[in-house]
């Protein structure tokens, strides 16, 4: 599946801007959200082709948002990649069990993000 539109979700303005810059410069259309709840709304309203999702966010965290996306019949086809400063093995396994297609630890490089989007 060709990825054209990416939803970037991060409560950190710096990380959000960084991810948007990486994706935009590679030609992806980018939409953004700053919370898990907003991400769920935009996944339905904007129907992105992929989601880059931060894990540690106030309120609904990235794991919970990922689970909501991947369990909803309307959105479950949209691949979710978790992007987090939580780099433990536990987080990767837990993320996988919540339905994530990939897991990238912060700090990340542009290549890591773009390579991941290419293989979705």
């Amino acid at each position: 599946m060709a990825i054209e539109k990416v939803l970037v979700v991060d409560d950190s303005a710096t990380d959000l801007q960084n991810l948007v810059g990486i994706c935009s410069s590679a030609g992806y259309a980018v939409i953004t959200a700053t919370s898990g709840t907003e991400a769920l709304d935009k996944v339905k309203s904007d129907t992105p082709d992929a989601v880059l999702l931060d894990v540690i966010m106030p309120g609904m965290n990235g794991f919970q948002a990922c689970r909501a996306i991947t369990s909803d019949p309307v959105t479950q086809h949209i691949p979710v990649v978790l992007v987090s400063s939580k780099g433990e093995k536990t987080d990767r396994v837990w993320g996988q069990e919540q339905g994530a297609k990939g897991y990238i630890s912060k700090p990340f490089t542009a290549e890591q993000i773009l390579d991941q989007l290419k293989i979705l």
């Binding site: 540690i56 965290n61 794991f63 919970q64 689970r67 909501a68 369990s71 433990e88 536990t90 987080d91 396994v93 837990w94 069990e97």
Partner: protein
């Protein structure tokens, strides 16, 4: 629950976690213990548990296999440092600081009177429904488990005291192990009532 005694399904041969095969042998039949489901269990049994496949997260605590709804857990972390609280139950490990939030931590093996699996790394499984937070020390990482209605046991096995009274909704014989499906609200209430000494 005696940790040295393996939990049995209550049906079939007397060996631990045996699959139901029909009639019990006379010796094990005399030892059978039935725990009748209460009204809450009956209500649950008439709903989701009648579905053919139930998606659950499963984790181990010693010999116990426990299930909870797939969409219920918040996260799993390497057990952080825990501060003990005086005048609390021995199985209440205390409070942990997980990224600035306090998480009550229950030594689940001690609470359920089972022996932790040797050589298996422990983790802290955190539940958070927005109002209450609960952390359970578990053996290994949780995994997605799809149990089938046909794997449901006719009766619950002998349960640790803290799992009685509607905390376990159903038991399933899955992958040669008995898995107890937890009612997390009831578990949280039971643990909460038992914490103060």
């Amino acid at each position: 629950m005696d940790p040295k005694q393996p939990m049995t399904t209550g049906v079939g041969p007397s060996c631990a976690y045996a699959s139901p095969t029909g009639l019990a042998d006379p010796v094990s039949a005399l030892d059978r213990t039935f725990v009748l489901p209460d009204a809450e269990t009956e209500r649950e049994g008439s709903g989701e548990h009648d579905q053919q496949i139930l998606r659950r997260m499963g984790f181990r605590v010693g010999e116990l296999g426990l299930l909870f709804p797939w969409d219920a857990g918040r996260e799993v972390v390497v057990p952080p440092r825990v501060g003990r609280i005086p005048n609390t139950a021995p199985w209440f490990a205390g409070l942990a600081n997980v990224r600035g939030g306090l998480v009550p931590v229950v030594d689940t093996a001690a609470a359920f009177s089972v022996v932790r699996q040797a050589g298996v790394p422990g983790y802290l499984l955190i539940f958070d429904d927005g109002a209450d937070t609960l952390g359970l020390l578990i053996d290994g990482l949780p995994r997605v488990i799809d149990v089938q209605a046909s794997q449901r046991l006719a009766s619950l096995p002998l349960l640790p005291t803290l799992l009685e009274g509607g905390v376990v909704l159903a038991a399933y014989d899955h992958a040669d192990r008995v898995w107890l499906d937890l009612n997390l609200d009831a578990l949280s209430e039971a643990l909460g009532q038992g914490i103060p000494l």
